[in-house]
């Protein structure tokens, strides 16, 4: 299961990050609308387990454990032999299975373009929009200090 590609890693990593953060129902809908082939053999999972979470003392010091999170992972193999992996926080096995198939399909150049336009681009846009809205809502609660001048000098 070890594949080291080097150059493609960054794009793959970025795509996996988008898929991991996708709302399950939205990924499911985009996946069905994309018409991409869903045939795949499950090599592992989807299975749910724990990931140990760590912080750093003082924010940037030595690591310490501060709890665990549920996470789900899957590994699939396509009829053409391509292997795909997916990991995401939570217990949405359907989402992670689709993400693993997409990760495998993205090894095929012709499918990669469809995945980008039909799935990753809309997911990325939705995530960016939600983040921007969250930032703008928070920004409205920013304190604008002003000084009150009392009396005359």
């Amino acid at each position: 299961m070890h594949e080291r590609e080097g150059a493609g890693d960054e794009a793959r990593r970025a795509a996996m990050a988008v898929l991991a953060q996708a709302p399950g129902d939205m990924l499911d809908r985009l996946w069905r609308e994309s018409g991409l082939p869903g045939e795949a053999e499950m090599l592992r999972g989807p299975e749910t387990g724990l990931v140990g979470l760590r912080g750093r003392i003082g924010g940037g010091g030595a690591p310490f454990n501060f709890g665990e999170a549920t996470a789900t992972r899957a590994t699939v193999k396509l009829p053409g032999g391509e292997v795909g992996h997916a990991y995401a926080l939570g217990r949405d096995t359907r989402k992670v299975r689709i993400a693993a198939i997409l990760d495998a399909l993205a090894r095929r150049p012709e499918a990669a373009a469809t995945i980008e336009t039909a799935i990753l681009a809309p997911l990325r846009a939705a995530l960016a929009e939600a983040d921007a809205r969250r930032r703008d809502e928070t920004a409205a609660t920013r304190v604008d200090f002003f000084t009150m001048v009392r009396g005359e000098d």
Binding site: M1, H2, E3, R4, D9, R12, R13, M16, A17, A20, Q21, E47, T48, G49, L50, V51, G52, L53, R54, G55, R56, I57, G58, G59, G60, G61, A62, P63, F64, N65, F66, G67, E68, A69, T70, A71, R73, T75, H85, Y87, A88, L89, G90, R91, D131, A132, R133, R134, R135, D136, E137, T138, A139, A140, T141, R142, V143, F145
Partner: protein, 368 residues
Amino acid sequence: MYVAVKGGEAAIANAHRLLADRRRGDRAVPAITLEQIVEQLSLSVDRVMAEGSLYDGELAALAIKQARGDVIEAIFILRAYRTTLPRFGYARPVDTGAMLVERRISATYKDLPGGQLLGPTFDYTHRLLDPALAETGEPAPPATRPAGDEAMPRVSGILAGEGLIEEDGALPQDHRTGDLTREPLDFPMQRDLRLQALARGDEGFLLALGYSTQRGYARSHPFAGEIRIGLVEVELDVPELGFAVTLGRIRVTECQMVNQFQGSAKAPPQFTRGYGLVFGQSERKAMAMALCDRALRARELGEDVTAPAQDEEFVVSHCDNVQATGFVEHLKLPHYVDFQAELDLVRRMRREVEEARAAGAADREAAE
């Protein structure tokens, strides 16, 4: 002493059936959904996740529903559940400096890069019951203002410039990060293990201890240097891929407490620090954790250990509410045989005391 006694099966089964009925309550009232608990009781969910030490909002909501809203019972259920899952590995430490900030305040600097962002806070509310919430009707949508892309450095970094504050806590190079879910407690412990214990510790217990330090039991002159709440990315190194995969984001609360320190044989006068990091929006807990973290560094900083909050074994051994409730509540279980034995013992001791007293009286009479 434990002796197996049979009986009570029917009573237990019916008690659990009754519990299920009372949990449901009046059938004319709609049953609460997990989505409702996650969305509308989100700070209860955060507390159960933090002290249950498992980040999963839906499971925490289920535990709260199952426990009829008893938060400690819910934490117990969540802790029990986590033991049933395999461990995939440890994530990389989260970077709170890169947080998508939802609230960020500093009590030490008015004008700091990124500003003071109040976020969804109870602060400055009047704490008057709001009858409008008893009605249906929706609140206004939040106001918005275009957020700049100004960076929001941690306040500790700003203070570090002058060298008047200690660095983020380092541990020896060869130190392996401890995990108290994997290894038995051993005292004295390193700061990483202490922080792990505090992060899952009972909010009420840590709040009381933090309060005690403010009232003079290990006074440490604290300032809330910074509190920030928001989303941080979780990344896991995946061996089969050869790189770190983003798993998603979690909400955390971080508290940087800054404490005046007059210096000791071990350290010069400077600002020292206590640190808090907790799942969810859990500001009170993060602040209490930071106060306790600082108090527990007494030995390291060469301070006298005089107060409960500085006593590592006392704090760490008693802050876990699952352990505490287990031991306190086990007193409810049948101790019939134990008690019979003690009853016999007390009867015998009483008899001996009375006999001795009677013999003493007889001696005195004889002497007179």
